[in-house]
Symmetry: C2
Subunit: 125 residues, 2 copies
């Protein structure tokens, strides 16, 4: 995923992406709207704008059936790992372990998190 694609997903747009990522298949605007109108209180027009912008940005694909169906071009994993690396670059001088150290020292980790991490980084043998 190139820098300027992901970097351009804005907060509002991200809500649309999340929905598309959850969906098994491509969705028509109707459905996107249905889901988001309630949760976000957005007008139909707003949602259409967001979807269109995501298409322009190349992170959502549209396929014409009866009506357009929309699906993500990038996966959620791709996006989140990109966003994470971006954070590390911008504010941790590129050092991933500094991010984690910051999480630890700012009590950003729950007991469960820590247990999982212990497991994750246990020295194998």
């Amino acid at each position: 995923m190139s820098d300027n694609l992901a970097s351009k997903i804005t907060d509002s747009e991200l809500e649309v992406m999340k929905l598309l990522w959850c969906a098994k298949d491509a969705l028509p605007v109707t459905e996107i709207r249905e889901k988001l109108q309630g949760s976000k209180g957005w007008e139909p027009a707003t949602i259409k704008t967001l979807v269109s912008r995501l298409v322009s940005k190349g992170v959502v694909r549209q396929e014409k059936r009866n009506v357009y169906y929309y699906s993500p071009v990038i996966t959620e994993k791709e996006y989140s790992s990109w966003a994470t690396k971006d954070l590390i670059t911008r504010i941790y001088n590129g050092k991933a372990s500094d991010l984690i150290a910051s999480l630890v020292s700012s009590n950003g980790l729950t007991k469960d998190d820590i247990a999982e991490l212990r497991e994750m980084f246990k020295v194998e043998e």
Copy 2:
């Protein structure tokens, strides 16, 4: 640090913050400019705008001496841990360990990082 303060530090502004965080004492614009003009290629006016915006946002304090001196109101640690939590909230559903798992699975960690993390999460005693 309240949400709307930190959230408002933009990329360009962050460069100014980084400089102020490095400085032991408050700096006059002259010095901020000196440091950033070279590295960022910004015009003096641009730098003044950024500094002023940071002051409006309440994250930089100005004190009048001969000339205004600027210093950060929030620490780098406060900011980075805020930004990290924000990322976790926005894209990892609030689960910090998911962030770390994503780093692991996307090869975002160097050997050194991993060594440090093993150390960090080693079961003590």
